[in-house]
Symmetry: C2
Subunit: 157 residues, 2 copies
């Protein structure tokens, strides 16, 4: 009996369970960030990247690699954040392209938002997975990423 | 020693592992759907909902509940799909609002796309998680959703 391309019943159930969890978790955390700090998840991700980098500045190309966003998407995102005073673009000595710099306001925003976001992630994610379950979940995520590496290496051959 | 709002090192590692997996898996499947069938993941979700419903038609309000999208987002999405001939809105007898109906073209599209999408999900998700790992993963997803139910019930009190 060949299975064809279809997921069997158990696989289908796990896949739908994952999609449902992913959608609800993403929505829950996004709503909280927007309601309490006026931030989108994308704003938050950029602010975290910059705040964790020495000098709180990065080349756009490195931000692109860190976020894995396409150039045009990143550029639009940074323009919106620049208009709101969260980041600015500054010419850097000896570098052809300007760097993206976290502003004082951007730093104050992430300093305020990060503990609340961490608490929310703990409440609905980390504390939901007891002890060993947390490790098993990380192993599953790593297994999926390894498979993605393999499949994408095949595709680009 | 109180932990404060922050994730400990192990929790932080699992959370980042999940975010990375989620982003890569979503991007991988979205690229394939777009490249091979010109569909966004949102198009795909709507087409699946309609194709699985008797008569291949649903009220917009039921589609909204099935997808958990907000009304304005769903409405814009359906307009775009209507322009491309994938769905249409038809007045329904005895119902105040028109129903969303899968067109012949929409049905042909999902019939072609679904096996390819299922094969991709199997390759990078279901087959990446061996035997018991698949069940453990579903249990973790369910635990997170249960926690979301609790937290959101508290919030709305």
């Amino acid at each position: 009996m060949t299975q064809g391309p279809w997921l069997n019943e158990a696989e289908q159930r796990v896949w739908r369970s994952y999609l449902s969890m992913r959608n609800r978790l993403t929505t829950h955390l996004a709503r909280q960030l927007l309601r309490d700090f006026g931030l989108s998840p994308q704003d938050y991700e950029i602010l975290v990247c910059l705040s964790e980098t020495p000098g709180r500045r990065m080349r756009a190309v490195d931000l692109g690699q860190a976020t894995r966003w396409e150039k045009s998407r990143l550029s639009r995102q940074l323009s919106r954040m620049e208009q709101r005073g969260l980041v600015c673009r500054e010419p850097a000595p000896g570098v052809r392209y300007p760097e993206v710099v976290l502003t004082e306001q951007g730093f104050a925003t992430i300093t305020e938002a990060a503990p609340a976001h961490a608490a929310a992630v703990r409440a609905v994610f980390a504390e939901a997975l007891a002890g060993e379950q947390l490790d098993r979940f990380a192993e599953a995520c790593a297994a999926i990423e390894n498979r993605l590496d393999e499949v994408e290496a095949d595709d680009s051959r």
